[in-house]
Amino acid sequence: MEMIVFVLASAMVLVGAVGVIVRRNPVHAALSLVLTLFGVAVHFVALEAHFLAAVQIIVYAGAIVVLFLFVIMLLGVDKAEDLSIEPFPIQRPLAGIVGLGIAGLIIAAIVRGRDALREAGEPLASDGDQNVQALARNLFEDHVFAFEFTSVLLIVAVAGTVLLTRKVKKPTAGGKAAE
């Protein structure tokens, strides 16, 4: 049973991830990303991390990708891009190098941290509410400062974005704004 769930969820993740890269239409790519996120949520449920699974759907699929789609729709970039024009010629080799580098880092991390991965380990908390409580204790007691700093960072980012996108209009002599 666990094996079937694992295979299906992994297939969802991989198909989605390949789709994000291969699909030419940005909306289709975003939808493939949703498929990947759902697959990850299934993995979370199989690992008895119900809260993370729910948050994965609510935050990533429900808010972030919706925002992606929203921007794609508003800006009207939903046409397939002409890939023959390269605004920045070096980006393809650079992307290859960065991709290989990240893959190498992840593989190295897995190899180094293999001892930490226990086989068929017991879940930390089997009950759903205990699960949330353990997570809350971790966030709001052990890492409370990191948590608060992250929220400050987000607010600074929001304020900065608003400030950057604001067009400052110089008032003319009559007090009316010049267009």
Binding site: A61, G62, D78, G128, G175
Partner: protein, 429 residues
């Protein structure tokens, strides 16, 4: 492993899988499917009938008794209509979108406790035909978060339908819809957090279980404000009047579903009305004690409600509990009665309230509902903490009010300054 994936249901603690559990799950799924479709059909009829009553019309009265079968006739007609696929449509997404709207609407049924006996140590289970089970398909440990997740998936259906149609008006409708639904989801979540704070659990049956008497119902214990915010935010989530800018016929032809016809349109229509029913059920579960009977202190309305008006042999009723007549379904009777109140309220909204303008909608959501919901949540949290730490409750409430007052003044000042700046820059709005 498997039992935790499916449900925390006492029914599943057995080795007798094939004959018992799977049959019961199949029965539950089938029951929810049938009840869901029939209830949606009746809801459409109910809405049309009530609205026509309020507008001094007759309403549907030809098909079946009282026009009850009108929806069935309309549905059958939709099946046989031509299924159009616009030339400029994105074929794949265009076909996918109705299902993205419809499937989450149906899945919502699975986490609502549709009945059950929450008195004593019964924990929401009923015994029926030798099987002890919940009147609920899954009692997932994160039940209420599943509701939020499904309602955020429902956004995709509407959003992609508008985009995939490849035409201007549906796109406008879906951009409006997604902006509105994302905005009001924040207020919805914050008022829901107030309920979770009081109940201390995320499972839907657990939330119902703590609401024993009227004073424990979350509508009272969270102090009405979250209930009102939830009701308003939910109406906006459902794109129901007065928040139905998504399908404002006068401006957008028909909104996101303009290009849809035949069965695909029927799926959107079905999803919309089914969402009204399921979200009313969620509201009842969260704030009105779901299938719990109405009890005030020691006064139990199931015991003292006098039904002797009807000419019926009441000897089968034990202990004066008239609802025992319904056996394991007595909780369901309460649930249906409470849900009907809100279904009526929605129809009432539609018949009486004019549609909001777009800037009014956004102002209302962001500048009123979200700050109030957040402030109220913080006050509730402070009071809860004060109770736990044994602080002086009067001082806690006074401190909260002082902080709230100061933040309200600051917020107001910010709004005034922003408006003055905009006016000075000569912005049109």
């Amino acid at each position: 492993m498997l039992s935790s994936l499916l449900a925390a249901d006492p029914m599943l603690d057995t080795d007798d899988w094939w004959s018992q559990v799977l049959v019961w799950i199949a029965v539950k799924v089938l029951a929810i499917f049938v009840i869901g479709l029939v209830a949606t059909m009746l809801m459409v009829w109910f809405e049309r009938k009530i609205v026509s009553g309020m507008q001094n019309r007759v309403g549907p009265n030809k098909a079946g008794p009282f026009g009850l079968l009108q929806t069935l006739a309309d549905g059958t007609k939709l099946f046989f209509k031509e299924d159009l696929l616009p030339d400029k449509a994105d074929k794949w997404v265009f076909r996918l979108a109705p299902f993205l709207a419809f499937v989450p609407a149906f899945l919502l049924w699975s986490v609502i406790p549709l009945g059950g006996d929450f008195s004593g140590d019964n924990d929401g289970t009923v015994t029926w035909g030798g099987v002890t089970t919940r009147v609920q398909l899954i009692d997932a440990p994160m039940g209420i978060l599943i509701v939020l997740a499904l309602s955020s998936i429902g956004v995709y259906g509407i959003m992609l339908a508008g985009w995939a149609s490849g035409s201007k008006y549906p796109l406008l409708g879906s951009v409006r819809a997604s902006a509105q639904m994302i905005s009001y989801e924040a207020a919805l979540g914050l008022s829901l957090a107030a309920v979770l704070l009081m109940s201390g659990t995320l499972s839907t049956s657990g939330i119902v279980d703590v609401q024993d008497g009227l004073l424990d119902w979350h509508i009272v214990s969270t102090g009405f404000i979250p209930f009102i915010i939830f009701l308003i935010a939910m109406t906006a989530e459902l794109n129901r009047p007065p928040f139905d800018l998504v399908e404002a016929e006068q401006e957008l032809v028909g909104g996101f579903n303009t290009e849809y016809s035949s069965i695909r349109f029927a799926l959107f229509f079905l999803a919309e009305f089914m969402n009204v029913i399921t979200m009313s059920g969620i509201l009842v579960t969260l704030f009105l004690g779901g299938p719990q009977p109405l009890r005030i202190g020691s006064l139990d309305f199931t015991q003292h409600f006098d039904l002797r008006l009807f000419d019926f042999d009441w000897t089968i009723v034990s202990d004066g509990n008239y609802l025992a007549l319904f056996g394991p379904l007595s909780g369901t009777v309460w649930f249906v009665l409470k849900t009907l109140i809100f279904l009526y309220v929605y129809v009432w909204f539609r018949a009486t309230l004019p549609r909001l303008r777009y800037d009014q909608l956004m102002d209302f959501g962001w500048k009123l509902l979200i700050p109030v919901a957040l402030g109220w949540f913080l006050v509730l949290a402070a009071i809860q903490l004060g109770r736990d730490e044994d602080w002086n409750i009067v001082a806690v409430v006074a401190g909260c009010l002082a902080v709230l007052g100061v933040s309200y003044l600051l917020f107001n000042a910010a709004l005034v300054v922003a408006r003055r700046n905009r006016e000075r820059e000569g912005a049109a709005y």
